[in-house]
Amino acid sequence: MSINKQDVQKIAHLARLALTEEDADQYQNSLSSVLSLVEQMQSIDTDGVEPLSNPLEMTQRLRDDVVTEDNQRDAFLANAPQSEAGLFLVPKVID
């Protein structure tokens, strides 16, 4: 299974990764080889097999509805690339 460069750019866009033409060429090769490796899965019939997403097949535990956390805004904002007035700043969002 191989994918073309357009596919690579489409995936990269979905994943928000800027690729140069050169990158795209390279990823086209490496993604194709991973996808062929993954193709081996089709060799086995899995009809009627339930998918397994958690190895222990546990069920969700429930948390009591209580407020346990204090305001730690400043500690979190300390890691922000850009902030002002308690807000994280990003380039203008246009709706």
Partner: protein, 486 residues
């Protein structure tokens, strides 16, 4: 001092033969002289370490503390440590100082251990050679031109070279066991859900599991005493009570049923590695164990299944690295989209970007059933293989990796060859069972690890089996040349 076990050091600390400050200073000094050859640490936290050592001494002075009190350890740089740089091996987190502490590191700290620093790793735990670190490759202490394995390569190399008494690692597809094998140390990947994932930077949430790495099984048991157990902050944490991992460590192995999966000894396994493993199995027979051949028929499918599930989860887990609230942001973004695209392309290395793209593709419309769902179905088949096998035997043994540590750069151009290296470790994560790597000999002076796999929550049993083996062998006590005399 750098080769002592935790029990010995704990005794010396308790008897005040040595103080934690002295011990810590000695390790810090050794790191500063030796680590330039290995690059096993990303951050050395001298100041914090000495503070913690002082606090440990105060406790010990009062006759308080646990067996870890005052013991210098290191943490894989994937565990968030409050106030200490946490990079996950990535440029993305080049400047990230968490205002919170992971449950694992917090529990080890509570037990009184001293944190020497944060160890190098493959970026976001993606890799089997530690060559994917933004902070440079780690060298194998047994051969400085060979890889230490990955992704917990820094922890493994540091322990092998005596740059930490013990360390934490994480294992998503073999990342504790394979570097342990390559560096000749002991490592345990616990049952999924045994050790909390809170504060562990996620690679693949349904596969990730933190665990101990140390010289011996007994030292791993000491770490497990602190690390393991239920955590209400992690929904996938098991409420099954954790065991006393030291209580039965000396139980005799007579009658132990060992299964050898024939699929672990087929093509692709280095003949000398195979021989080393079989010698180890004979040692167990001498201790009264019964060996039988078993089968894990779907082993081969663990590679494709893993390389769909792990990248899929990773593609989503790594979306939070967007340059908004923390981490790398590109210079002068021209708009929001540009900020996302360039921050992520600049912040993530190639292997990470590749896995994000594989996962994005596997989850995308029209492909989900053929990839993700199919992989989850195969995952169940793999789990069932183990469940069936472990109905017949107590533990399963085999190699950790097909070869000993390979040369740096030898596989970087053939990623698929690198993925095939993980053939003996991936299935354990898919099934969620615990497994260890235990030093079992050398091939051309390079360590070989024996893998011991067990049933869900059978960590104490695995540690007992490994410890008994280590009582009768000295492979785990060997020291690499570069670490001698220093």
């Amino acid at each position: 001092m750098f080769e002592q076990s935790i029990s010995t050091l704990a005794k010396q600390l308790k008897n005040k033969d040595i103080s934690s400050v002295e011990l810590t200073q000695a390790f810090l000094k050794r790191i500063s002289t030796l680590d330039s050859q290995l690059n096993s640490y990303i951050t050395v936290s001298d100041e914090l370490a000495l503070q913690q050592a002082k606090a440990a001494d105060a406790l010990l002075q009062n006759g308080q503390g646990t067996s870890l009190t005052g013991i210098p350890v290191a943490h894989k740089d994937l565990f968030c440590t409050q106030g200490t740089l946490t990079t996950c091996g990535s440029k993305m987190l080049n400047n990230f100082i968490p205002p919170y502490e992971s449950t694992v590191t917090s529990r080890i700290q509570q037990a009184g251990a001293v944190m020497l620093g944060k160890t190098n790793m493959d970026e976001f735990a993606m890799g089997s050679s530690n060559e994917n670190s933004f902070y440079g490759a780690v060298k194998n202490p047994w051969n400085l031109t060979a890889v230490p394995g990955g992704s917990s390569g820094g922890s493994a190399a540091a322990i092998a070279a005596g740059l930490a008494v013990a360390a934490t690692g994480t294992d998503t597809g073999g990342s504790i066991r394979q570097p342990a094998s390559f560096c000749g140390i002991t490592g345990l990947k616990p049952t999924y859900g045994r050790v909390s994932r809170f504060g562990m930077i996620a690679y693949a949430s349904s596969l990730d599991q933190g665990g101990p790495m140390a010289k011996s099984a007994e030292d791993c048991a000491h770490l497990m005493q602190a690390m393991a157990g239920f955590d209400e902050k992690d929904s996938t944490s098991s409420e099954i009570a954790s065991e006393d991992y030291l209580a039965n460590i000396n139980a005799p192995l007579a009658g132990l049923k060992i299964g050898l999966p024939k699929e672990y000894f087929g093509d692709g396994l280095d003949a000398q590695v195979a021989e080393t493993i079989m010698n180890a199995v004979k040692e167990f027979e001498k201790l009264g164990a019964i060996v039988k051949e078993i089968s894990l028929p779907n082993l081969q499918l663990s590679i494709p299944s893993y390389y769909v599930i792990a990248p899929s989860e990773a593609s989503s887990n790594l979306s939070r690295f967007d340059g908004v609230r923390f981490g790398h942001r590109c210079d002068d973004p021209k708009d929001l989209l540009d900020m996302y695209m360039r921050s992520r392309a600049e912040g993530f290395g190639q292997e990470v970007q590749k896995r994000i793209m594989v996962g994005t593709y596997a989850l995308s419309e029209g492909y989900y059933d053929a990839y993700y769902l199919k992989a989850q179905k195969i995952r169940r088949l793999i789990k069932e293989d183990f469940v069936n096998a472990l109905n017949e035997v107590d533990v399963i043994m085999g190699p950790v990796a097909p070869t000993t540590a390979f040369e740096l750069g030898s596989k970087t151009n053939d990623p698929v060859a690198m993925y095939l290296e993980d053939i003996y470790t991936l299935s354990v994560n898919l099934a969620g069972i615990p497994a260890m790597s235990v030093p079992a000999g050398f091939v051309n002076n390079m360590p070989v690890g024996l893998q011991i796999m067990g049933n869900y929550f059978a960590e104490a049993k695995l540690l007992n089996v490994a410890h008994q083996y280590q009582q009768h062998t000295d492979w785990h006590l060997q020291t690499p040349e570069m670490a001698k005399g220093a």
